[in-house]
Amino acid sequence: MNTNLDEVKLTAYALNELDETSWAAVEKLLAMDPVARRWVEDVRRTAALLESELQAEECPSLTTEQTREIQRQIHLREKPGFWTRQWFPSLRLVEALAVVAIIVILGAMLLPALSKAKFKAKRSVAMAEQRQAALENRVEDQPKPVQQPAEPPVALDLNEVPAMTSPAPAPAAIPPAPVMTVNPSVTQPVALGQTRASDALTRAPVASSQDFGLAAGGLPIEGQDNNSLRLPGVGATFQAGRSATTATSLQFESVKKDWSYGHRLQERLADEHDHFNRNRWSAPPAQPNTESYADLADNPFLAALDNPLSTFSIDVDTASYANVRRFLTENQLPPPDAVRIEEMINYFSYNYPQPKGSVPFSVNVEIASCPWNAGHRLVRVGLKGREIARDQRPPSNLVFLIDVSGSMDEPAKLPLLKESLKLLTRQLNENDHVSIVVYAGAAGMVLPETSGSNKATILRALDRLQADGSTHGSAGIQLAYETASENFIEGGVNRVILCTDGDFNVGVTSQGDLTRLIQEKAKSKIFLSVLGFGMGNYKDSTMEALADKGNGNYAYIDSLNEGRKVLVEQMSGTLVTIAKDVKIQIEFNPAQVNSYRLIGYENRLLAKEDFNNDKKDAGEIGAGHTVTALYEVVPAGMTPDETPGVDPLKYQRPARPPVVSDSDEMLTLKLRYKQPDGDTSRLLTTPVKDSDKSYARASTDFKFAAAVAEFGMLLRHSPYCGDATMDSAWEHAKSGLGNDPEGYRAEFLTLVETASRLAGK
C-alpha cells in the first residue's frame, strides 16, 4: 500500500466497484500485503455501519396531494382508463343505454354480416345486464366492467376518477362479461360440432343464469335469452367455442373462455359434489408442472465458541406441511425444497401454557436427549400466543383479494377457495366487515365493504366468482390495500386475505418487486394472510415471501378440511395478530455447548445485529398460535461427526481463548417483540439449564415435535439425519400422539407410512 492511488483502488475493491483488470491486480496485492487486507476489511466495516445508519434515516414521502397530482398526470398521458372501483353508471345513463341496446340488437338482427354490430350488440347486452343488476341490487356491487373507451356514454370525466385507482384500460371485463351474442351470419353453429352445438342450445338458458350470469356481474335478461333462441330463422346462437372466426375473434377471447369454463363446470358438477363430500380436492396434476420452490440448505452445526449467538425470526406459517401432505396423498415424495421443517412442526398446536401478565405469549423451553443422535441434546423452544375467545374477537375489516385468473380454473383452486371463504364468512358477525377485490388481467372490486351480518350478500358475491384471464397480482394488491385502509378500524383487525396459486404473470411479476410492494404496504398496519391453492403451477416461494414481508401468515389449503382448520378452528390466530416482529436470539454457553444446529427456519435466519434493530421485520404471532423451534445441541466435550474441522491458520496466530464463564446454564433465550400497532420492541430474557432429561421422560409434545423434525429431515435428505429412519419417526410420533382430538397427529402417522412406502420403492 504505497501510493494514495492504491488506497483509492483498495477502497473501490472493498466496495465492489472495481473493473476486472484492476480487480486481479488488487487480489494479488492483498495476497501479499496484510495492511492492505486490513484496510479492505476496515472499509467494509465502515461501509456497513454507514449503510445501516444512513438507511435508517427517515424517508419522508410526498404529500397525498402531490401523489395524486402525479397519478393524474399518468391518467392524462394515457388513454383514459375505465375501470375504476367507484364507477357506477347513473341509472338514467344506463336506461338510455338500454334503449340503444335494443336498437342495436334489432339492427344486428336485420343487418347480417356486420361483425361490428355484433360487437356492439354484445356490449349492449352486457350493459343491459348491468342495468338489470343495478336495478336488482344497487348496494351489492358487481365487478366493474371495463368498457371500450370508444363511446360517449362511458367517457368519464377524469375528475370523477379516484386518484389512486389504476388506470388499466383492459379490453375485457373483469371478470369478463358473459356475453350473449346474436350472430346472424351463422345459421347453424357448425363449428361447434354436433353434440356440443345441441348442448349449447339446450343448455343455454340454464347456463346463462347458472354459469355465465355468475361471472360477470350481470343477471342475464331472461327474455332476451328466450327471444334469441326462438329465432331459428335468424340463427341466433351463443358465441361459443371456435365459431368466432371473424376478424373480431380476438375481442371474443374472454367469451370463449367463459363458455368453455361454463361448459366444463357443468360436466364437472357431479364430480365436484363428490369432492365436497370427501372434503378432498384432488385434480389430475396439470402438465407441465411448473411449481417453484426456493432452494433451501439445512442449517449446519455451528461452534458455540465462534458463533455463540443464533438469531432468527419466528414463523407461524404452516403451508409446507399441507403441501407435503398433498404430494404424499398423491403417492409422490415431495421435492426436498418444498419441505420447510419449521412449517411442518408449527402445523401442529402444542399444549403450552397460556401467558401470564402483560406479555402476549408464554415462553417454554424443554431439553431432552435427541432421538436421532443419542449423545446430542434436543432443545425445544415453544411460544404460545394468548388465546382470544371467539366472542371477544375485535371487530375486523377484511379484504378478500381473490385471484380469478385463468390458472385458478381448477376444482382445487377457485371452487375450493370459494367454499373455504364461505366457511370463514359464516363465522363473521355484525362487527366484521368484508370487501372483495378480484384480479385477473386487471383488478376490480366485486363487493364493497359489507357488514358480516349481511352474510347472504357476501356468500352470493363469492358464488359469482369465475376464473379467467392472466394474473395481474400487483394491481390487485394495490387495490386491496387501498380498500383496507379506507375501511381501517382503529384497534381492530385490518387484514388483506390473498387467495391465489401465486402464479403472477402480469404487471409486477418478479418476486423481488412484489415483495417490495408488499413490504411497503405492510407499514400501513394492515396485515396479510396468504392462502395458497392448487398445484401444477403452484408458486410456493412467491407466496411465502409475500407473507413474510407483508406482516402475514401463510397457509396452503389443499382440502376443505384444511380450509376449516385455518379459517374456522384457528380463525382467531389467523386473523388476530397479538405480537409482531417476534425475534429469537439464543446465546449458547461454550462451557456447556460444543456446537448447535437450528432445525429448519433456514430462510428466517437473522444477522445477530438484527435482533436489536427494530427496523428489521420479523414474524408475527396470532392469538392462540404456538410456535416451536428445535435446536440439536452437541454438548461440550463432544464434536459433531459432520464437521471435518479446518486447518490452523497460516497467517494468523490463534486469538487468545476467550474467557468462558463457568456458569452451568446451557443457554440464554432472548426474545424481542412489538405490540401489533407498536414500533418499539420489548425484550424478554430467560436463562436455561439442562436438567439431563432422557428422551423417554420428555413430554408428548416434545416427542411429537421431534418426530416431525425427524420426518422433515428425512424428506429433505438432510445430512444431519443421524440414526433417523421413517420407522423411528413413526415410533416417536406414536409415542407423542397425546391428546389429539382433531386427529391431525394421527394423520401425520399415515403420512409417515406413505412416505416410508414410497421411499422404500
Binding site: T46, E57, I74, A168, P308, H472
Partner: protein, 178 residues
Amino acid sequence: MDMTEAKSDWIKVALREHEGPLVRYATQITGDLDRARDVVQDTFLKLCAEDPARLDGHLAQWLFTVCRNRALDIQRKEQRMKPLDDVELATRPGREVSPAAQAEQNESTSHALRFLKHLPPNQQEVVRLKFQTGLSYKEIAGVTKLSVSNVGFLIHTALKTLRQQMAETGAISERRSS
C-alpha cells in the same frame, strides 16, 4: 398487458421505490422538506413524459440527476443556503424510545452520522448517494457530473477520515468476533 398499463405500473413502481430516498436526498440539498417534496413531485411529473425503454437500466440515475438539478436550481434561485447541520436535525427521525432502549441503541451503534456531517459537503453527498441510496460510482458520477475516479477519490477520502475519527473516539470498537 397493454402499453399504457405497463407504463403506469412502471411509474408506480418507480414512485414506490424512489419516492422516499429522493425526498430525503432533495431535503439535504434544499434544506427544507416542503421544497424537497416539490422538487420530487416535479421529478416524477417529468418521468411521466419519459419513455420507459429509454431509461431502462438507469432509472435511478435519471431520477437522482433530475432531482438534483431541480433542487440546485431552486436553491440557487431562492438563495436559501442552510447549513447542513440544521437539515440533519430536521430530517432525523423523531423516535420515541424508552431510555433503556436508547441506552441499548447507543451501545450498538457507532454514530457514524455524527462524524459524517463534519465532512466537506461534496464528500457527504457522494457518501450518501453511495451508502444511503445504493448508487454505484458510475451512477454517482452521472448524477453529480464528476468523473468516476473523482467519485472514488471522494468516497475513499471520506471513509478514511470517518474511520480515523471513529477509531480515535472509540466509537467503533473492534467487534470482530461476537
